[in-house]
Symmetry: D2
Subunit: 135 residues, 4 copies
């Protein structure tokens, strides 16, 4: 099992807030995607390379996010991303999103993905990436 944990850090953008004065809920999914990119890098490859060289994308099949406390403009955000499960065609990542300054948990969730080729059809992850993600 892959025990790598990616840590992604950034500040909340003004554009990410809404009129409730907090981060709009869909932006957490964007943050999860930053986490996935950083986790790939930590495992030894750039996600970009998978798309560019292999013509393979990791399409999202399912997402779940639980919101515990609001994030606000300029807050320092920390995302912990882990590989939960890797199969040849299906991957699951989990995420914990916290306010780095206060340590407060803001949200957590998971995403499930399928590998798809340039034709949009499901395919297997090339061995190199499967191994790297398996840890």
């Amino acid at each position: 099992m892959n025990s790598q944990i990616a840590e992604s850090r950034f500040r909340v953008r003004y554009a990410e807030t809404d009129q409730m004065g907090v981060v709009y809920y869909s932006n957490y999914l964007v943050w999860m995607e930053i986490g996935r990119g950083d986790l790939c890098r930590k495992c030894g490859f750039a996600y970009r390379e998978l798309e560019d060289k292999e013509g393979i994308s990791i399409a999202v099949a399912d997402v779940q996010c639980r919101y515990r406390a609001p994030a606000r403009y300029d807050d320092a955000i920390l995302v912990h991303t882990r590989v939960k499960r890797v199969r040849r065609r299906v991957l699951t990542f989990t995420y914990e999103i916290t306010n780095e300054t206060t340590g407060q948990r803001l949200a957590e969730g998971y995403t499930t993905h399928v590998a798809v080729g340039r034709n949009g059809k499901p395919c297997s992850l090339p061995d190199r990436y499967y191994q790297l993600l398996s840890g």
Copy 2:
């Protein structure tokens, strides 16, 4: 139980696509929010009025979305939104997102919400809105 179903129609915006050539996954949550607004209207009130007059927001506590087929730029999208459950402090909505032209199901999901006051603390829905959402 509230049997109202809101139908929301719009076209995919270019801004909503990503380099995979399909709609980026977080945008489905924005579409769900359009569905919620239309459902409130169908139940007899504007969501805006709830925030402006009553000082109450319907904060998202949980979201789940399953992606079945990709949406593309300029596709005609149809969102069906239903109230699944209404309590004084907790609401659940469900969503079905389809390509209106082909009839293909693109995604489905739910969101759970808690009513919060101007101070950010959970509160009860005012009776009028509770009744309207209960159908």
Copy 3:
């Protein structure tokens, strides 16, 4: 000169607001893009077709937007889009954005575009599209 004017209508999305309680400024550029799409349709073609069939994209080279009054959640927005100038390789569109309910002008601006091929290099608009956009 092309005297076509596209009218695009939609409501402000919650996701488009920011913590100032008004629409975040970059979203007006998304609205301009909706206007461009509707103007293409009015001229007789789908922008999508230009990209899919001809492999030509209309990349943005320049944008200017002046903001006159804020837009708020759920406001009914009306965008008027016009072709200002068409050359084989360069196009300019102008936009007027108003609150349809009050008639108040919210913003106006223009975008300049260059036609680019699949290789990302500037190219000429195919004659059919040049004629349609020239009106």
Copy 4:
């Protein structure tokens, strides 16, 4: 005249790309806003503080952006932000956006802003912020 230059660094997010395979044009305005936040910090205050403590927002009145070369997913972006002009009620910032890895200029532009109070009406910048921004 304020000679401060803020340097903001981040990677392009997948969510920021569009089906043309490059960053969608409205996202450059979000990057400009990151630059403004960093420039405020460099001048000695958090923009958040201006809104929270003083009840004053810096609303955008005008934006212009020229796009020179595309940005792509995962590119390392560097934004240089400067104060161009500060008056009691009007501010202008300028921006240069480059690919930090290649040094290629991607875009440049400016934004003009007016200070507005909680009532949405124009007002003067409090002296402390005026002095800090004047440099």
